[in-house]
């Protein structure tokens, strides 16, 4: 359908305002929020993800597409909640203690939001306690941790330990990422998953939910 196609193209082409406009137009025409999400927005971000994987899209372009998706989702969100449609999943994400580098994590957050996740962004330099607190309060499906520095990455196992001590480890999946992080490291500290970049973080989150 032409309107869904236009909306898809708007997201792919990073046109934030147009994406909002077309989403509203679709609602005015009587489309269901869930249908707009699944038949247009999600497909758009899937294509953007593929283009990124192939090296056709660059990080800033991917982010702007995610921003367009997020803006459209904000229009749909109240209606989705009203009709009891489940979001893809909830994720609490932050950069670990001592690490001011939250660029990568913000990137992942935006991509996850773009993919339809409910993202609680805990920001840079998040201590273990804050992760635990957020799990208690927000009951996310996933806890995401990021580190850009080799030295601060060593705080990741502390968060996992803190979750265990609080008896919450079984309730959430833990995924980690960041420049120095590897699959081996994820295995070693007992994380449930590792993603090397923002696009694969979305795939990983989908598989963990």
């Amino acid at each position: 359908m032409a309107l869904y196609e236009d909306l898809k193209v708007a997201v792919i082409d990073m046109e934030v305002e147009r994406a909002v406009e077309l989403t509203k137009k679709a609602l005015d025409e009587g489309k269901k929020a869930e249908d707009i999400m699944n038949s247009s927005l999600v497909l758009a971000m899937d294509i953007v993800g593929e283009q990124y994987d192939k090296g056709e899209k660059y990080v800033p372009e991917m982010l702007l597409s995610a921003k367009a998706m997020k803006a459209a989702m904000e229009v749909l969100h109240p209606l989705l909640v009203e009709s009891g449609v489940e979001m893809r999943g909830k994720i609490a994400i932050g950069t670990v203690e001592g690490d001011l580098h939250d660029i990568g994590q913000n990137l992942v957050s935006m991509m996850l939001e773009g993919a339809g996740f409910d993202v609680i962004n805990l920001g840079a330099e998040t201590p273990a306690d804050t992760f635990v607190q957020s799990v208690k309060e927000n009951k996310p499906d996933i806890v995401g941790m990021s580190a850009l520095l080799t030295t601060t990455m060593l705080h990741m196992p502390e968060v996992i330990d803190a979750l265990k001590q609080a008896g919450l480890r079984d309730q959430v999946k833990v995924m980690i990422g960041g420049a120095p992080v590897t699959q081996e490291y994820a295995d070693k500290i007992g994380a449930d998953g590792y993603a090397p970049d923002a696009a694969s973080a979305v795939k990983l989150a989908k598989s963990l939910c």
Partner: protein
Amino acid sequence: MSKSKLELLDHNFVERIIDEAFVILEKTGVLVENEEGARLLRGAGMRALRADTKGTVFSITRDLVEQSLNTTPSSVKLYDRQGSDKPVLTMGKERDKVYFDPASTALYVFDYATKEVREPKTDDLVNFVKLADALSNIDAQSTAMIPNDVPKDIVDRYRLFLVLRNSSKPVVTGTFTLDGFDAMNDMLVAVRGSEEALKEKPLAIFDVCPSPPLKWSNLTCHDLIECAKLGIPAEFISMPMTGASAPVTLAGAIVQHTAETFSGIVIGQLAKPGAPLIYGGSPTAFDMRKGTPPMGAIETMMIDCAYIQIGKHLGLPTQAYMGLSDAKLPDSQAGLESGIGAVLAALGGADLVAGPGMLTFESCQSLEKLVIDNEICGMAKRLIEGINPRTDPLAEDLLHGDIYQGDHFLTSPTTMKWFKEEFFQPGSVIDRDNKDVWLEKGATTAEERAHQEVEKILASHKPLPLPEKIDRELVRIMKREANRCGMEQLP
């Protein structure tokens, strides 16, 4: 004398960058999370633009930056562990050559035997340090890896402990923890005998890294102030990432680097006028396709060369993280990126270049790469020695020699006098055998020859031992630190 140099910016461009850095420090300001740093800036009459739980954003005036630049020493010297009279490194104004130290703080080591990237243990760092001790073109050590067999709370000082025990070369280091600095200073003082002697003959440089954009974390600001007070050289490592944590353009990132480094110079000089500081950095041209910070990108190296030029223009000692590679193992990519980086650093005028050994965005060290890079460093050093008029006339043998009697210059007195000094002699990594000899010797690759060299050096090289008394004191300090976090026995 040598005319080998590279300047990517013309004079007006340098001035324009510096002027804009002044404006940014005044208008945008810098966030200081450390209380003492904030107190120093307030004491100097700097205005707080805003404050929150994280810290205070200060506007820093051009006058204060200029005043601070004036009191910063124009040279820094580093001495060997024995405290010999002749410095090992003379950086800045009296610079006579380019120096290299391994890039530092790798979380991984490339294990050549298993072709595996894994976390290093104590033995890996010890072997690495011994190797760097033996390699003639590596002038200083660095605390190059993070061994995983001691608790992370003490691993910063443990690395320095291992380096001091296994090499007599000076060392570039840094902390991960707030109490790391005191313990590490204790070790350096133990080697020199007193704080005064350490100040007189510095043995170590501490890296202090502002967080981009324009922030000084509590830890790094603390280290900067402590270094300044004790006269230990501190090296600024401003790390703008184009388009990620800094403006996307090269010029914009250079301005950010300048502003961050200026703010560090101000804090250092407020803590102690005359404190030795080094104009260093580790910028990266953020890869917009992969979302990674490549050290081997040509634009990364261009930003490096530009800030080195600015540091030299200001008359300060300079440092750069160049000669690294983003390859995952010592392969062709590693060779080409490291080669280009080291040569540009040398031509650009960096005094100290941290790069050798490092792979994968500054996260993985390789002993084999260190051996290969040692050759690159030797070539870079030779390059900036330049082409010199060794004889007068320049082509002596063509004028006075008996060229029509024999057909070569191989045994002429001029050849005998200059054939060694004029040329850099590479080690066994560089293959210049004729093809048949190469085949006979096993038709090896550079990586294979590098590995053979690693094995040979580790089997034969004996670093100069520490005097027993000092060694005992270092062990005592390290055990004290280990016990404090519940570790009974050192690995």
